[in-house]
Each structure stands twice: as C-alpha cells, then as structure tokens.
Amino acid sequence: MTTTTDASTGRHIPDRLRSPLEARLKSWESLLLLVAIAIFIANSLASPYFLNAWNLSDATFNFTEKAMIGFAMALLIISGEIDLSVASIIALASTAMGAAVQFGVGTPGLVLIGLGTGLICGAFNGVLVTRMGLPSIVVTIGSMSLFRGISYIVLGDQAYGGYPSSFAFFGQGYVWWVISFEFALFAVLAVIYGVLLHKTNFGRAVYAIGNNATGAMFSGIRVERVKFTLFLLTGLMSGLAAICLTSRLGSTRPSIGFGWELEIVTMVVLGGVSILGGSGTIPGVVIAAFVMGLVTFGLGLLNVPGIVMSIVIGALLIGVIALPRLWAKWRA
C-alpha cells in the first residue's frame, strides 16, 4: 500500500482507500480466474485424458471462433447496444464465400469476401441503429432472420463445398506445435481488443457512452460514430469467425453456426460485462471463454449429455451474476 508520512505527526496517511493490488484481487476477473482454475483441476482429476497437449488444443476450437466475436460484442454491449445477428452474419458470409468458390475465386479472394460480407452486414445494422435511431435489439433480431434467410434462399437443403486446400489453414492449420492458427488469432485479437478498450481514447469513449450517452455527447464524443464503428467491428469479427468456421468444416450449409449468438452473449456476460452497458473488461471475456471451453470439453470427456452441459453453463451464468448481488443485499 502506498503511504505518505506526515512529517509533523509521524502518522501514516493512506493516499488511496484501496491499493491497486487489493482492488485487483477482489475484482470480477480474479473470481472468474479462480473458477477457471477450479474447473481445470476438477477436469484433470475427473478424466485421465484431460491433461494432454493435443486434447487441450482440440478443445480450444470449442470457443476460439465464438470468442473472436465475443471481443467485439463486449465493446458493443459496454456501449449499451447489442448485436444478435452475429451467427446469421456467419451464415451469410459463409454462403457468399461458398458461392464465390463455385466461380473459382482463390483463398485471398475468399478471405476478402468473408470479411467484406461481415462489414456490409455490420454497416446495415449500424445504419439502422444510429441513423434511424431504432433499438439495436429489435434491429438485430430482424437482421438475424434476414441474413440467415438469404442463406436459406440461396442454398435450400444444398451445401457449398470444394474450398481450395490452402483455405483449410484458417480452421485446421497449426502455427507452432499444438498452437492452432485459430488459437493464435484469438490471442492476438485479445491483446488488440484489450489495448483498444483499456488504453485508447476510443475505449474510454465506449465506457462513457455506455454509462451516459447524453453526457458523453455533451463532452464532445461522437456517440453515433463510435456506435457505428462498433457495429462494423462486430460484423467484421463475424466475417472472420465465418472464415475460420467454414475452413474448419470444409463446407457451407445455411444452418452453420446456428444458435451461436446466445452462446456469445453468455460468454460476454459471464466475463463480467454488464448487460446494461457501462462496465466490463476484455481480460474478463478471455477468462470466460476459457471457462466455457473447459466446462464443455471437460464434461464432454465424461460423455455427459449436451443438455446437462447447457444446464451447467446456465447455472454458472446465473450463479456468477446473481450471487454477488445477493451477497451485497444480504450484507446491506
């Protein structure tokens, strides 16, 4: 603890009420980290197959793509908005790439098309929310049906395949030993989003908007522009996730990534981001991604039925959100 000594009296006067170290130890992230460690230990004890580098590497695929979108979604939710169309953007971007393959487009072209489709979808949501002033939850529930609907019209019960073999690297390639390309990308994006949210003016603007959009506007923050940028980023990340997932599956069906939007929002909220906006951190989301990945993989190793996994994740979410509030109420 930092203290200053008052020369006249010799008493120690603390210049802060809580030290940064203490604050950090009592934070949401450390609580979550403890949960992650507990799950890790429980998994290692419960299954002899858990502590194996390749198995753990395989397990990361359960969350890397979702977490990529989760980072952008965290910023969006902190700013007080939400995007429920992310999984449908994956479907549309994947369909666009699949269609391009039929015209002989190569891997670099496919990546551009995937990211481009994501950006266009993000811009579509962004314009409706910021220019027309519509609530983002309504807009993105609509575009959720719209984007996936287009995929269904294009594909019906068919599938696109025949992706070039170099395209397989994004979802199936390894950078070094057991570190997959997807996991490396996840780590790099975690750092980028961490810096963006916690170390830049843009990040502070995001918090300001989430806490008080009107106040932020009067402080000279271009609220609409920041929000629009966040929708673009979320779309871009969905496009990126579409590239990874499509590459991993090697084919496109309109049902690709179905139901992911709720898993992504769950991950973000579990990471300590307030669903009402205004607070949350990227490290929290990173740990939450690991928690969800470890829980599903650990339970999967024990062949626990998927529905029980959903119950565990649900209980985890409600528990982590509700218990601190109950505790605060009980103490007060």
């Binding site: 390749w54 395989d58 599956l249 999967g300 024990l302 062949n303 998927g306 029980v308």
Partner: protein, 332 residues
C-alpha cells in the same frame, strides 16, 4: 469468506458433474454411438439395440452420445471429445454429409474406426456406411405386404408423395420390377398426395370411388399412409380396403387398432443400432475389413455385403402389425 464458499460451490458443481460419468474397465472396447441429437425416440431405440449387441459381445462398452440440437458443429465437439478419450470406434448418424469429414478424418488418422449409419457421411470421412435398407428391398416389401393379404389376387393402387419425389419414384419402380412374383395382383392406379395430409386424404377417397373393387392402397410415404387409413375409416371400408406401405408406428397405431391397416413397414431402429455396433466391433477388432465386396458379420442380423462405395443395406424393412405395434408406438 463469501468468495471461498462461492468457489467451493462451483468446484463442487464441476466435480459432482464429473462423477456422473462412470469409468468402466479400461480393457473393454469402447464404441461410441453418435446420434443427430439426444432425446429423439428413434435414436434412443438405436441405443437400446447397441446395448443389446454390447451384451452379446461381452467386452464392449457403449458410449451413447450426441449434441442437444441437430447441428454439425455440435457433433464436431462431441467427436473431438471422443478422439481425446481414444475410443476404439465411432458409429455416427451424421447431421451433415460434408462438414464432419475433416474431424472424422482426424479420428481415423488417430486409429479410430469410423462408420456411418442411418444418415451417411461422404466416403472420405468414413470407412463404410450402413443403410437401414435398400431400394429393391423396400420396393419388394411394399407390394409383398399388400399381396400377403390377397391370396386370390386383387386390385391395388399406389398413393405416393409428389411426382418428383426421388425416393418414392425409385421404390415404385423397384416394386414394378418384381410384380411378376405376385400373380393376380394388379396395380390399377398411381396417384400423388404431395405429402400433404388433406390432399392425400382426397386422393385416397378418389381411388375408392373410381375403383369400387379396390383391395389395397399402398402408400410408401408416412404422410400418405396415415391419410389413406383415415379415408378408409371415414368411408366405412375397413376390412374391404387394406392400407399398407411405409409409416411410423406412433402415427399408425390408430390405423392398426381400427383395422384399416393390417401391417406396414419401416426400418427398425433397434436392429439398426445393434448392427452398427456389431459392424464397428468387427472392424475395430480386425475381424473384418471395410472394402468393396467384403462381408461383415452382424450377429443375429446376418451379414452385410459392401458395394463399390463401401455401403451396405442391413435388411428388409421391418414389418409392424398388431402383434408389435404397442411396443414400438412409444419409441418413434
């Protein structure tokens, strides 16, 4: 204090979840029966058949698993955890022909026997595929069911799905090929109910009016057969016109009870799960090779002969009548 209770609680949660999956003797051969989704009667019945096979074989442990909803991504997570557990064989009913190929290829590279059953995987993603039946067997079965009730011969009509339904057209074609084996039985008309309940009902009514001496209606579609049975009941022609074809026991129980249908056929999921397990065991233990022309033993179901695509047909469709309908109507 609060945090300690909280983490203990969570750790306890994951440990107790861990204890739910019990470890069996390590030397047993572990065969995973992966289904489209858990909680579907058809697949629960298949799992019953797999357990029966395991009991017969003695040294086999069945891992019955699948995702909560019918997605390829969910099945990939399940397969990844099975690879991690180093199971000996995976027998899968796939949600997607193509998307599972990369993951199943990885499973085969790590020495796991992979077969598909019911709903197949593209040839490069499996060693062989088990079809519940084959087109010639189905074509023969539907006319045999009608002819068995007509020892003196008689007039039969076909109520199909749409004019473009590939499966139904092939079955009717196969049926026509074997008509010589059933002397005296004559197909007087083929009508199309478009797999719509009301249209099928009207077409069945029309058949009975146009052909007053009609003895049987063959509906090789689960929608048509139910509608035709209802039309027969409503026309008061129970006992005169026998409805048969392909249907689901749960939907046909009433028609069997009323006597509008004496018998009908569909694959038996118990036999399917049993055969898939027997085949997986034979391949994983090296008793049989999956190659074109190979004969693979399936216990009480006889043996399976593979064609040039490493596919095989299990058996004739299974016949359901008043003797067994009560047992199966609650299954699927």
């Amino acid at each position: 204090m609060f945090r300690r209770t909280f983490t203990t609680l969570l750790a306890g949660l994951s440990v107790s979840a861990g204890l739910m999956g019990s470890a069996a003797a390590a030397e047993d051969m572990r065969i995973a029966l992966v289904v489209k989704a858990l909680g579907i009667g058809f697949f629960e019945a298949a799992a019953k058949g797999a357990e029966e096979a395991a009991e017969e074989l003695g040294d086999v442990e069945i891992i019955y698993t699948g995702p909560t909803d019918t997605t390829a991504e969910g099945q990939i997570e399940v397969i990844n955890s099975l690879i991690a557990q180093q199971v000996d064989a995976i027998a899968i009913s796939a949600n997607d022909t193509d998307a599972l190929v990369p993951t199943l290829k990885k499973a085969m590279q790590r020495g796991i026997t992979v077969i598909s059953w019911d709903s197949g995987v593209a040839p490069e993603g499996r060693q062989m595929h088990l079809n519940p039946s084959s087109n010639p067997l189905i074509g023969n079965m539907i006319i045999k069911l009608a002819a068995d009730e007509l020892p003196e011969g008689g007039e039969v009509a076909v109520l199909s799905a749409t004019t473009t339904s590939t499966n139904q057209n092939i079955w009717i074609e196969e049926m026509n090929k074997v008509m010589d084996n059933y002397p005296g039985v004559e197909v007087v008309a083929t009508v199309y109910g478009d797999d719509l309940a009301d249209k099928s009902y009207r077409e069945a009514q029309g058949l009975m009016q146009s052909y007053p001496d009609l003895d049987a209606i063959i509906a090789p579609t689960s929608v048509g057969i139910v509608a035709a049975a209802q039309a027969v009941v409503d026309a008061g022609k129970v006992g005169e016109v026998n409805v048969t074809g392909l249907g689901l026991p749960s939907e046909m129980a009433g028609a069997i009870e009323s006597g509008a249908s004496k018998s009908f056929a569909i694959w038996n999921p118990i036999d399917l799960g049993y055969s898939a397990t027997m085949i997986a065991h034979a391949l994983a233990s090296g008793e049989a090779e999956a190659e074109p022309g190979a004969e693979i033993p399936m216990g009480r179901m006889g043996s399976l002969t593979l064609d040039e695509n490493n596919q095989g047909a299990m058996a004739d469709p299974f016949v359901y009548d008043e003797s067994n309908i009560d047992e199966f109507k609650s299954i699927f």
